[in-house]
Symmetry: C2
Subunit: 232 residues, 2 copies
């Protein structure tokens, strides 16, 4: 086998599975296509990788175009390369998962792209193999959030434990005992008390925490065990 023998070049795209959380349910940012092919149908946000651009940079460029946000938490999910996945021309798509704070995005930009936040439970059928991408992204989010502190990416910088609790219930689509959850989270020592309280609450105001960035960096590679087994 020699290198550069049959240099068949292929189209390479990235598609982004963009998760958000509005305090109640987990949402996806989806695009209603006003361009061919599959005009009028729903799809993930995507685009082609440029000649002089790393894969992840491509995904971040596309995310920036859509949301106006930089420094988004992005993780490569998997590449989808079935020969006939795109009917127009063979295209390899590198799928990226993105977690963003739903309140931060640029609304005009999102509207301009014909994009909408849709609850996972109301997800319409998407074009091509995008449904598979979403399924996998959700599976991975569940997998990862059970063991690593990534849920925070979906929340504001300052957040309460009840908020985090609701997020986890949304991610796993099931009830979690709030008291055990709280103790488990606090036992990681990953949260810093900001001294502030959630003034929005009509009842007892919850303590607002912030992620301890130093410990976060140290512990990122250690397992959590947030979920009662079995998770999946």
């Amino acid at each position: 086998m020699t290198h550069y023998e049959h240099p068949t070049r292929l189209l390479v795209a990235t598609d982004c599975i963009i998760f958000g959380f509005d305090g109640e349910s987990l949402k996806l940012l989806l695009v209603k296509r006003n361009f061919a092919p599959e005009r009028g149908k729903w799809s993930l946000m995507g685009g082609f990788v440029h000649e002089n651009e790393d894969l992840e940079d491509g995904a971040k460029r596309i995310l920036y175009e859509l949301t106006g946000l930089e420094n988004i938490y992005v993780e490569q999910l998997k590449s989808f390369g079935e020969v006939k996945r795109d009917p127009v021309e063979r295209t390899i798509s590198v799928a990226f998962s993105a977690l963003i704070n739903i309140h931060d995005h640029d609304e005009d930009s999102v509207k301009a792209h014909n994009a909408v936040w849709i609850s996972l439970k109301d997800k319409p059928k998407l074009i091509f193999d995008h449904d598979k991408m979403v399924d996998l992204a959700l599976e991975q989010l569940r997998y990862k959030a059970a063991l690593h502190p990534i849920g925070f990416e979906l929340l504001p910088e300052k957040f309460s434990i009840p908020q985090l609790h609701k997020l986890y219930e949304a991610i796993y689509d099931r009830e979690l005992d709030r008291r055990n959850f709280s103790r488990k989270i606090l036992s990681t020592k990953l949260l810093m008390d900001t001294g502030e309280k959630n003034e929005q609450s009509a009842t007892k105001k919850a303590i607002l925490y912030r992620l301890d960035k130093e410990r976060y960096a140290d512990k990122f590679h250690s397992f959590w065990h947030f979920m009662p087994d079995p998770v999946m």
Copy 2:
């Protein structure tokens, strides 16, 4: 953003991180290149994706060419797409992890490709970003084997618990209490007693088990907790 706007086509390759286990240590099947570029240096086995071939099929084709084996356990790891990762021409590489039974491969074929099994601990420096690929593959193997029953792919169909135990010690590069390990494995009910014993042993012959395929399929998505925390 309209589809098919700037159709820049790129080279797409697959590289395979091939793990094997010889009963003592975890090994990689590496190629000493007798072709350009980087002739004489070590690399992973790889090749370009063909026009009419799914990504995973490409990896399997390459694995078949090298080892003569079909039905190999293969898992897509990640795509590597840095602009300058390949100095000759920009190439996206989709990395695949493969777990094979080291005794099954076709020796002639491996020799013909100038490939050698090398213990992870003696791994030479590899070309391009192949070192990164190996690091990630190992991390993923550790991650996954702690929670899912995939170690079996590296063993013969019938294997003993002591064999499995040695495999796990090799994967995690640390001692594991053999008695606790044994109990943990058996408690999953994933192993079927074949009624046979390991006749090779010079001392007490170990019971040979086989993976219970039905339970395997059912349980594949459930977490194991094989390793004492923290694993990583």
